[in-house]
């Protein structure tokens, strides 16, 4: 199957490691993808609050671009790895398909730009593609270094399975846990898998945002996690980069690696660390690296 790939802004800047590792894994698993040409920001969650029609139109532009680019394909599958992009694109599909009035306005706006939106795109999350298209067995087979003895806390965040549970349970998601299991690691059963990390509040209203990230890190550590894996650039950023602030504010000594699930996959599949953006991490996942390499971490 051929996929279109919608990176979104984060994966090109703060979340570069997500893009690098995900595409490296796709390549290794022979997943055929093409980046959408001339894509734009999805509008994230903020724009919806400002102007709905505009917000839906700019998000729909990406879907219209996909329709144009894959005009001849029977099925148009767009992979959106960022949790916010994924949620916004699915929301756009849903709202436009269910509200003729909104669709009319959006289609009119896109027409001005020479585009058309018919609504035949299917928005997919990479976890969905990996588990349901590629299959857990193929992934288990592709691993070269089983992550034996590594305890992994899968952190889904608020947007991947909510509000639209397209491929996993809204309350007790399992996809990432199953993936972790296929890599030979041990998933940690912890209760805060879908609890909010603070989102943009960590940067804007720190006294609200920081405690939320702190709760997650502390609970993951209490359940014995060696590493937290996530599928959201903002979650990864909040949980990893604010650890110094959190330790200072709450008088703690947390030093917990937080990485993308695709990085963990890449390590197990023996993809060179540089191709996985491992050098971009602030907290080194020493234990994981030791397990896969049997020696020193090899940062570039």
């Amino acid at each position: 199957m051929k996929y279109l790939y919608y990176p979104g802004c984060s994966l090109k800047c703060t979340g570069r490691a997500y893009e690098e590792s995900l595409l490296a894994v796709f390549k290794a698993l022979k997943i055929d993808y093409t980046e959408i040409e001339d894509w734009n920001c999805c509008g994230a969650t903020a724009y919806m609050a400002v102007d709905e029609v505009n917000a839906f139109s700019i998000a729909a532009r990406n879907l219209a671009l996909a329709e144009k680019q894959f005009e001849k394909e029977e099925e148009i599958q767009v992979i959106a790895p960022c949790a916010a992009c994924y949620m916004v694109l699915i929301k756009t599909m849903k709202y436009l398909n269910e509200s003729p009035a909104l669709k009319e306005k959006t289609v009119h706006a896109l027409k001005e730009a020479g585009l058309n939106f018919t609504g035949r795109v299917k928005v997919r999350h990479p976890l969905d593609v990996l588990i349901n298209d590629i299959g857990i067995e193929a992934i288990a087979k592709a691993k070269k270094h089983p992550l034996k003895g590594i305890k992994v806390a899968s952190y889904y965040g608020c947007q991947t399975v909510r509000p639209y549970s397209t491929f996993d349970d809204q309350r007790d998601p399992q996809t990432m846990d199953n993936l972790v299991k296929a890599l030979g690691a041990e998933p940690v059963d912890w209760p805060l898998k879908t609890r909010c990390c603070g989102g943009s509040l960590t940067g804007t209203v720190a006294e609200v945002g920081l405690p939320l990230s702190y709760i997650l890190l502390k609970e993951a550590a209490r359940h014995g996690a060696d590493v937290v894996v996530t599928a959201c650039p903002l979650c990864q950023f909040n949980l990893e980069c604010y650890q110094t602030d959190i330790n200072k504010k709450f008088n703690e000594d947390i030093n917990l690696p937080v990485m993308y699930f695709s990085q963990l996959m890449g390590l197990a599949m023996d993809i060179p660390q540089k191709e996985l953006g491992m050098q971009r991490l602030f907290v080194k996942p020493e234990k994981v690296l030791k397990t896969v390499k049997g020696g020193e971490p090899a940062y570039v």
Binding site: R171, D172, D189, W190, P191
Partner: protein
């Protein structure tokens, strides 16, 4: 000429009903009356305020005599409501009731239109169609079939028990078939019943033994219906007796075999106690089981695995009642009517993972807690957590698997009340703080609201809000090593965390797993939710679309004990009413094979939803059993050679009706008979 149809040239009487304002406020009935008077064959045309009233019916009867009418058409409400009324009126006037035809200008016209002119035109079109149709009506004779006075009741919970006793006490034979080893159903598991708090066992077990001892009741437990054939009045059912490995007639329930079992310790989860206690491979479901007969579970009995057990149980039985080589046996019975009272299944709490059932050990289902508070339960009535502690604080979560778009949308009707009951019992047994988390309190029943009021006074806490999650994650020191219920309290408008030692999930009621198979076996319907469908939600609540098959209790939808018993009584009365009549009239709108035209292709046979069509091998033709045919017309439409006709829906009747309907547009369909009508 067919339009004379046995009683001379058509002389039609037409009556249009005002139905108070229901029809007359939208349709100009006088105009309709005047219009119809001009149509061929119409001798009398009248409008009247209430045609269904006695004077209305007398109008028809008098006109039949005075004007020698031989066809009657009434334009009024739905035939579902009053077709029978008018047929009887026509019959009283001396006409065959099938010379009557009814047109619905209420549901089909006045209730769904606002434009008076257009509505009147539509009513006129429908009236003309009916007038043209009735030309071709024929006299039909209703067939009668005798009713076998025996009744089969499937399911021996409180509904089945009550129905069985009611019918048996009327002196009729009852076969009560129960798939479990004992009758009693879910009610036998309960400790007390709301709102009176009388002990469930005290009111149920006397009825259970009455069933066992009633000479008119044949009680078959551990048995299942395998096959049902026939039709109202004469059903034939095949019942499979499952092997209990005990000769039921010899066992007296002394339980010496249980003591003697090679397993000294009971080590298998006890189904009756919801797995909260253990049983041996040879066991009795509960002390008051009816019949008082033990059974052997081949899944756990070691002799069935190795065939090398010392069989100490057999040695211990001095009545030689144990037979480990029993096999399925089958029995055929003939009954006239059947009552299904197969009950419900509690919602599987694991389908709501946010409440942690199966993950956190101190999350219980309501049925488990019923067993805990029961004096003969696994803890002798002590309410204990799974780690053996008396809880200081208990949270009861309502609507688990009910009123939830993700699982089941329906309200299970009993959970609010049983949650109140459990709250009262838990408080009484443990003195714990009890919290009820509810969406709405639904207490509509005699004494129910008063019971809720009593609980409020007892100091039980009520928090309005759907619980978000049950978590073992402690945010505050007082939550450590406990379960925390996170909920939005919608009355004070804030999110609350309430630490408790025990969580009770008020699981809803869902259809049994095999409800669809049972439905097919008995040829009845299910609602969207999967509960058995009644014939009419208000006016035929225990009847089904298959004559002679009735439903009672929670198999029809969630209901409490009083409602189940009421329905069981109603179903018993329906069965008895058929039995007392001794015979039943069948609607004559059935289909028939025209044998000379039937090619024997068998296309119709699999299409019949009522299995009414069989194949006569000797003459290679299809045959329709009139007693089974419901007149749905599927076979008539499907027959490639047009060799099936249906009474009241013959081609000339339908074409003539269509022709009458289309005349408004100046369309002449040229339907076969319109020009040949013989008009006086």
């Amino acid at each position: 000429m067919s339009s004379t149809n046995g009683n001379g040239s058509p002389r039609i009487g037409f009556y249009v009903c005002h139905c108070g304002h229901n029809i007359a406020s939208v349709v100009n009935v006088e105009e309709v009356q005047k219009f119809v008077a001009t149509l061929p064959g119409v001798i009398v045309s009248r409008d009247y305020k209430y045609m269904c009233s006695d004077p209305g019916q007398e109008l028809i009867q008098n006109d039949i005599k005075e004007f020698k009418l031989n066809r009657i058409v009434v334009a009024s409400c739905s035939p579902l409501l009053h077709e029978h009324t008018f047929r009887v009126a026509a019959e009283k006037g001396g006409l065959n009731p099938y010379y009557f035809h009814m047109i619905n200008i209420r549901e089909n016209v006045s209730w769904v239109n606002t434009d008076k002119v257009m509505a009147t035109e539509k009513a006129k079109d429908l009236a003309r169609a009916g007038i043209q149709r009735v030309f071709f009506h024929k006299p039909l004779i209703k067939k009668e079939v005798p009713i076998n006075p025996a009744v089969m009741i499937v399911g021996g919970g409180i509904a089945g028990i009550h129905a069985a006793l009611t019918i048996a006490n009327a002196g009729k034979r009852v076969y009560l078939v129960e798939r479990e080893a004992t009758i009693g159903g879910h009610m036998a598991m309960f400790d007390k019943t709301f709102p009176t708090l009388d002990c469930a066992a005290c009111i149920l077990t006397p009825k259970m033994s009455a069933v066992k001892n009633n000479p008119n009741i044949t009680l078959w437990t551990y048995a299942e219906v395998e096959k049902v054939e026939g039709f109202v009045g004469s059903y034939k059912a095949t019942v499979r007796h499952k092997p209990r490995y005990i000769k039921e007639d010899l066992c007296v329930g002394c339980m010496d075999c249980i003591d003697a079992c090679i397993y000294k310790e009971a080590k298998y989860p006890d189904e009756f106690n919801q797995g909260l206690s253990m049983r041996k491979p040879v066991y009795i479901p509960f002390p008051q089981a009816t019949p008082q007969v033990v059974l052997v579970d081949p899944e756990t009995c070691i002799d069935f695995k190795s065939r090398r057990c010392k069989k100490t149980c057999i040695e211990a039985c001095d009545r030689d009642a144990i037979d480990l080589h029993q096999i399925d046996t089958y029995e055929e019975i003939e009954v006239g009517t059947i009552i299904l009272s197969t009950g419900f299944k509690p919602f599987d709490a694991k389908r709501a993972p946010q409440y942690g059932y199966g993950k956190h050990q101190n999350v219980f289902t309501a049925l488990e807690v019923e067993r805990l508070v029961n004096a003969s339960g696994p803890t002798n009535g002590e309410v204990l957590t799974r780690d053996g502690k008396k809880p200081k604080s208990v949270g009861i979560i309502h609507c688990v698997g009910s009123r939830d778009a993700k699982t089941n949308k329906w309200c299970s009707r009993v959970c609010c009340m049983y949650s109140l009951k459990l709250a009262h019992l838990i408080k009484e047994h443990t003195d714990a703080e009890v919290y009820n988390f509810y969406i709405d309190m639904r207490t509509p029943g005699k004494g129910y609201e008063e019971f809720y009021d009593k609980l409020l006074k007892e100091g039980v806490h009520f928090i309005r809000g759907r619980v978000a999650e049950v978590t073992d994650w402690a945010l505050m020191p007082e939550e450590k090593d406990r379960l925390t219920i996170r909920v939005e309290d919608t009355l004070i408008g804030t999110v609350r965390r309430i630490p408790v030692d025990m969580v009770v999930l008020a699981t809803g009621l869902v259809p049994r797993d095999d409800a669809q198979e049972i439905r097919r076996m008995f040829n009845i319907s299910c609602s969207n939710e999967g509960f058995f469908l009644e014939r009419h939600p208000k006016l035929a609540p225990v009847s089904t679309f298959t004559d002679g098959i009735f439903i009672a209790g929670a198999c029809q939808g969630p209901k409490d004990i009083p409602d189940s018993v009421a329905q069981a009584g109603a179903a018993a009365a329906e069965a008895l009413s058929l039995i007392c009549a001794g015979k039943i009239e069948l609607e004559p709108n059935t289909a028939q094979i025209i044998e000379k035209d039937c090619s024997g292709c068998k296309s119709c046979i699999p299409l019949c939803p009522y299995s009414a069509i069989t194949f006569k091998d000797d003459i290679q033709k299809a045959y329709i059993n009139e007693a089974l045919c419901k007149g749905c017309g599927t076979c008539v439409a499907a027959c490639p050679s047009g060799s099936i006709i249906q009474n009241l829906f013959e081609d000339e009747e339908i074409f003539s009706e269509i022709d009458g309907l289309l005349k408004f547009a100046g369309l002449e369909t040229g339907a076969l008979c319109s020009t040949e009508m013989e008009v006086q």
